[in-house]
């Protein structure tokens, strides 16, 4: 088989190799750093480096929620309305990761937005709502999620949301209504919130309703009580004809799924992960090698693992040398010196897990540890 190489390819190939050699020289000039380490100090949003974003604007939505407009790095691949993004924020100097829905479709200014509701004791959400300011940098991952409208967009939609569950849905609505060829279908939005004032995007949603774009049913649970799924057939008589999306607290979603399953209907659900890890004394520790051990709350994981024959990196065995640091992928450990807890939740803590010193950490609940992931 013969392949004809277009003449342009040779030029671009030589251009490429010049670029590669220049880069090699630059790398040799800054070792042991990488060129990216250096360039990050001047242009952290350029392509080819870790994906980050800079906060452009923080817009309060209610007293306890705010929308962050973020300029993402060059390598941002775009997203579909309804998808979410993992965000790493520095709170009290510590990088913590959380997941938030993207609340706009693709925007003209190439920025993305997330809307965050400050939950009680929520370290990251409170930071983002109350302390984040324009200019702050955030770490980002690419958009993910299956909670998106199919193409072609179904003519009749039912959107059931509660609280911050509106956030993926607002992205869908904004996108539908900002298109040059507006969506002509029929949308019912059934939204629950604690009070009228607590409705995130309240004025905007009521505006859509006033323009006849959506049929909005608001439930304010302080006066109306919680949504009873049994009432659904009365509120939405043509439920069976509608393509349905739901996002909100687990209790609501469970009830809805039961309701739909009983009628053999399909429901698209977006669940926000529960963030609580219940810390105990000791627990089951599983390792990347497949070994699983029972460790008590007073024995360092390093000792427990070695006693079970797991090959572990180790060093001083007293918490000084960092020779035993490996990532905790999931679970909780307790620092035996001062009782401090370290918790790793997949999808919330850093992509590589949370590095822990196994020689001074004991299991505080079930843990998964990647003992082979000693970096470099």
């Amino acid at each position: 088989m013969s392949i004809t190489v277009p003449s342009g390819a040779t030029r671009s190939a030589s251009g490429w190799s010049l670029r590669t050699s220049l880069r090699k020289v630059a790398e040799a000039a800054v070792t042991p750093l990488t060129l990216d380490d250096v360039l990050d100090h001047f242009h952290p949003l350029r392509g080819g480096t870790d994906l980050r974003g800079r906060i452009v604007e923080v817009r309060p939505e209610t007293t306890e929620s705010a929308t962050l407009i973020i300029k993402p790095g060059r390598d941002w691949n775009g997203h579909l309305p309804g998808q979410y993004v993992r965000v790493g924020a520095e709170v009290d100097g510590v990088r913590l990761w959380r997941t938030y829905s993207l609340t706009h479709g693709p925007r003209a200014d190439k920025c993305i937005s997330i809307t965050v509701k400050a939950i009680p004791d929520g370290v990251v959400s409170n930071h983002l709502v109350h302390h984040a300011k324009p200019g702050d940098m955030l770490q980002l991952a690419q958009a993910q999620g299956e909670f998106v409208l199919p193409l072609p967009i179904p003519p009749k939609l039912l959107l059931v949301t509660a609280g911050s569950g509106i956030t993926p849905v607002i992205g869908m609505l904004r996108n539908l209504f900002s298109r040059t060829e507006p969506y002509a279908g029929d949308i019912v939005l059934l939204h629950s919130a604690l009070t009228r004032d607590a409705v995130i995007f309240g004025p905007e949603l009521r505006g859509y309703a006033a323009r006849g774009l959506i049929h909005l049913v608001e439930l304010h649970t302080d006066v109306d009580g919680m949504l009873d799924v049994a009432d659904l057939d009365t509120i939405v008589p043509d439920l069976a004809e509608r393509t349905s999306y739901a996002c909100g607290p687990a209790g609501l979603l469970d009830a809805l799924e039961e309701h739909y399953d009983a009628r053999d209907l399909t429901l698209n659900v977006e669940r926000f992960r529960p963030t609580t890890v219940v810390a105990g004394e000791g627990g089951t520790v599983s390792f990347a090698s497949g070994v699983t051990i029972e460790a008590d709350g007073a024995t360092p994981i390093l000792d427990a693992a070695e006693n079970a024959g797991v090959i572990m990196p180790s060093g001083c065995r007293m918490g000084i040398c960092m020779g035993c640091v490996i990532p905790l992928k999931e679970g909780a450990v307790r620092d035996l010196r001062n009782g401090a807890l370290t918790v790793a939740v997949p999808g919330e803590t850093g992509p590589g897990g949370v590095p822990i010193q196994t020689c001074i950490s004991a299991a505080a609940g079930a843990c998964h540890i990647d003992e082979g992931a000693r970096s470099r």
């Binding site: 000039a29 990088r95 060093g315 040398c321 960092m322 020779g323 001062n338 803590t349 590589g352």
Partner: protein, 413 residues
């Protein structure tokens, strides 16, 4: 120095087991206070230092592209020297101690950091964090005591080769980064083993270190000089980079000598360390085995806060910017338990450390028994001890020590 257990009065003799335990509790409390307070300002500090260091290094190297002009050479060399010192001391050393791991920033983390030094991060972390910090000043276990090439304790038997140790020490200071690399590899010990019997671990580490040295040398002595060719500055840039490395080496060597070498810092006997050394006992060993340097804020930063060597050895994983703040509390604890908080300005500590190197390069008691009048005889004696074999050496050494004791008694009386 003499191991504390061999001294006429052990400086810890007045401490009861309860005291040791209480010291441990009080130091743990200081540590916990810093952990509780640690936060955004600390993170901002290290980010700032890293940012300043990188910009300073880039700017200095940019200036050195024109280093055939003498003012550019001077400015660039000073800047690069400072940048290299900051990188090794306040950033590299401390990051590799895990002082900033709590930030969970993979870019500033003990497991990912690599420093501007001939020694690899992994090799250094093993030798420094695992051995030296753990077995601080235990004769025979802590290789930082003389780096295996020097006599730093009266208890080490004198041998004529130690006469050259001030010279060794000076050469080691000039090429300190290579000294550290060799020492992290335990090169001396490994080279004595026949080639085919050397461990795989050693071979891998050796090849990693050689690769690192090659990259470091290519950067400083090939790439940057070559980039300076257009201005005719190849040789000046090469010389500037060599000078900056030399300055960094001598500076870090001096700071590190001040940490454990000055007169009055205690050493410990291997066999006197209990098998189950308690937290309190370990703390006390760190307290007495380290010395601080007093000085300005700039001096503290340039030493990587190793000027707070005592605090660093007590709390090696606390952020370096917090040592100054805990120092008064640590010092108060020393006073409370009647222990010697060893602190002096840099020139004094450097002098003291060098004095010890010179004193111990000579047989025990020689310096104390020598004055201007008997200098010729004493020199003759030293010559005999150097050339006439072990028997005469031992006899003369015994006599010298006896005379030294007499001199001391006479002084006391």
């Amino acid at each position: 120095m003499t191991a504390i257990t061999k001294k006429p009065v052990n400086p810890t003799a007045h401490l009861t087991p309860e005291d040791f335990e209480q010291i441990g509790i009080e130091l743990d409390a200081i540590r916990q206070d810093v952990l509780d307070a640690r936060g955004a300002t600390d993170a901002a500090y290290i980010h700032k230092v890293v940012d300043v260091q990188r910009r300073l290094e880039l700017a200095s190297r940019a200036v050195l592209l024109f280093s055939s002009l003498p003012p550019a050479w001077i400015v660039g060399t000073i800047g690069l020297s400072v940048a290299k010192i900051l990188e090794n001391m306040e950033i590299g050393h401390n990051v590799m101690h895990g002082q900033w791991d709590w930030m969970r920033d993979p870019k500033i983390h003990s497991t990912t950091w690599e420093w501007d030094n001939a020694s690899t991060a992994d090799g250094w972390k093993h030798a420094h964090n695992e051995i030296h910090h753990n077995f601080t000043n235990i004769v025979g276990k802590d290789n930082d005591l003389g780096y295996g090439i020097m006599r730093v304790d009266e208890d080490q038997r004198w041998h004529p080769m130690y006469l050259a140790q001030p010279l060794w020490n000076f050469i080691n200071a000039c090429f300190f980064e290579y000294g550290i690399a060799a020492y992290d590899l335990e090169l001396g010990r490994n080279l004595r083993i026949p080639k085919e019997k050397r461990s795989e671990q050693f071979k891998t580490n050796l090849s990693k270190t050689l690769k690192k040295i090659r990259k470091q040398a290519t950067k400083d002595y090939v790439v940057h000089p070559a980039l300076s060719i257009p201005t005719g500055s190849f040789l000046p840039t090469l010389a500037a980079n060599f000078t900056a490395n030399l300055v960094r080496n001598i500076w870090s060597h001096s700071v590190i000598m001040c940490g454990h070498f000055p007169e009055g810092v205690e050493t410990f006997e291997k066999k006197a360390i209990p098998a189950n050394e308690t937290r309190g006992e370990w703390y006390v060993r760190q307290m007495l085995g380290s010395a601080n340097i007093s000085g300005s804020k700039a001096m503290h930063i340039m030493t990587g806060n190793l000027s707070h060597q005592i605090e660093h050895h007590l709390f090696p994983d606390l952020p370096s910017n917090r040592y100054a703040e805990v120092a008064p509390r640590v010092q108060a604890l020393f006073e409370k338990y009647d222990l010697n908080y060893h602190e002096a300005p840099l020139p004094q500590q450097v002098y003291s450390a060098w004095h010890k190197v010179v004193r111990l390069s000579l047989p025990n008691g020689w310096l104390a028994t020598t004055n201007l009048k008997n200098l010729p005889e004493q020199t003759k004696l030293l010559w005999a001890m150097t050339t006439k074999g072990p028997k005469i050496r031992r006899a003369a050494a015994a006599r010298l020590q006896q005379q030294a004791r007499r001199v001391e008694q006479a002084k006391a009386a």
